[in-house]
Symmetry: C2
């Protein structure tokens, strides 16, 4: 469940194979009832698909931004892209509708779980996952399980501060890496350099229309060695490298996986972020792999599909 679309699918939980996938608009501005009805519509569509083909559905898994009480199913705390779902108990909304167990968790946690079970972090017990898009989400796998902290509020990697007197973040904190290295900040920085009259292949591509600038174009220009785009991406690698090094110094993971639109910018990007982290991290903790996520847009609902198997209800810390 995202601010723009509800991405969903039927997943073979033993292999992570996606049998079918769909996407529906969330229609966020239309409010809570419409959003919930759209989620229901997504599930109903998949249920019908399964019924027709004799596919047995064992569980329904849901992922959403914000802090999620995985025990009760309540969505808590800030949900900047989906504020209408604050304090909604999704499990209660749906439990009368569907006769299979329903699980729900934070979306970045689930993406991390999917990468751990089937993707870039497969075979590693301790993993830091980050997804860089409109915001920066985090997922932590410790001893093969999602780590959520005492009250499901952990793994908020995007709100690691990289400057105590830096930019004000929408979360209330100051200097959050999300304010420096997520898609909007990358776009703004590039625009500001272009407005200063800096030369760039982007000027030809955009034909003067800065509104057409996207992160995709910036990373294309970076891959082609464009100087302006390279400067922007190198700055981003310093911001990300600082925050990742701090997290690695605390968690000492075996692998750091970067996903989301920005994370999928390619191996050249992953390499310069890796190099920044390796320069900054405590030497004892430097022996980790940095990898690009492999599951793409499917990661969220694949993680949701296998959540039921991986939830130790007795251990709130996990």
């Amino acid at each position: 469940m995202g601010g723009t679309n509800i991405k969903s699918g039927i997943v073979e939980t033993s292999s992570g194979k996606v049998i079918t996938r769909t996407s529906l608009p969330t229609q966020t501005p239309l409010g809570r009832k419409v959003i919930i009805s759209n989620i229901k519509k997504s599930i109903n569509g998949l249920m019908e698909y399964a019924k027709k083909r004799g596919i047995k559905i064992d569980t329904i898994g849901l992922g959403c931004p914000g802090t999620v009480n995985v025990q009760t199913g309540e969505i808590m705390g800030m949900i900047p892209n989906l504020p209408q779902l604050k304090n909604v108990n999704i499990k209660n909304e749906f439990k009368r509708e569907f006769d299979v167990p329903i699980y729900i968790d934070n979306d970045a946690n689930l993406m991390g779980l999917a990468e751990h079970k089937f993707g870039a972090a497969k075979g590693f017990k301790n993993c830091l996952f980050l997804t860089i898009g409109t915001g920066i989400g985090g997922g932590i796998i410790l001893d093969g399980k999602i780590f959520r902290g005492s009250k499901y509020a952990g793994a908020e990697f995007g709100h690691t501060s990289i400057k105590y007197d830096g930019r004000k973040c929408r979360c209330g904190n100051i200097g959050c890496v999300e304010s420096y290295a997520a898609a909007p900040a990358i776009g703004e920085r590039t625009k500001s350099l272009l407005r200063k009259g800096r030369k760039s292949i982007l000027i030809n591509w955009l034909k003067g229309d800065l509104k057409k600038l996207s992160n995709k174009l910036i990373f294309e220009a970076f891959k082609k060695g464009d100087r302006l785009a390279t400067q922007v991406v190198e700055e981003v690698s310093v911001f990300l490298g600082t925050a990742i090094a701090s997290a690695v110094n605390l968690l000492n993971p075996e692998v750091v996986v970067i996903g989301g639109g920005v994370g999928e910018a390619g191996s050249k990007f992953i390499k310069i972020v890796d190099s920044q982290v390796k320069q900054r991290v405590n030497p004892s903790a430097a022996d980790f792999k940095m990898k690009q996520a492999r599951m793409g847009n499917d990661a969220g609902f694949i993680g949701a599909a296998i959540l039921g198997q991986n939830l130790s209800i007795n251990s709130p810390g996990h």
Copy 2:
């Protein structure tokens, strides 16, 4: 085992009660052999004390700075204050000398364990501990156990960066909170303000001799409401607050315990640090307690004494 002194004691492991304590100079400049011989001297002294009084010694526990492989007993990585012990295997050095099991871990991990079992973090399962002195050490307790990360290199809270383009730290990183909020940085900042001719009660106390300035005096002046000292301590609370908020956003602990010389500056200091963190942290994670450490200088060896009971050798992640 510290850079200046080897603090040791005999501890009743069920209660944490200290039966006796001693302190010997480490004599760091005299090199590895002398240091190890001094550690042995400390242990021998306590062994004799125990023998005379019929006290049964079950285990020997050791704590030292740096990264420690708790399985093998090897001291790895950087040990800024005790570089002579790098790559030394303390367990092997001593196992022929003493006929009880020997355990060793990072000192801040052990202080955190002691606070968790008997001190300020008692009753909390998830705890972030920090000790602020010459440097800033960290200890993480998750589900009641020391969390060390994949290769024993985790919990390095002091090397959380609070400024991506900030001060160069001795660890190689940039902007580490240790470079801003540990005792030397607090002293330097105060001196630089005094040199600018700022008024302060400290000038009377020092009678013009800046060399006599200590963190103790600075915090005394802060407690008396001295404006210059208050400014310095408020700046420190911003630095610490930034780093603690980032760690709390990742770990979502129930309690944050601050120890070490600076941490023991008193409740007024703890309160302003707490207020900084609460302003910065993700609202979902803000429901934690911040407390001053209770075990003082004994924390390290009390943690070492109970390490054997609390070490799950099968789980390297813990």
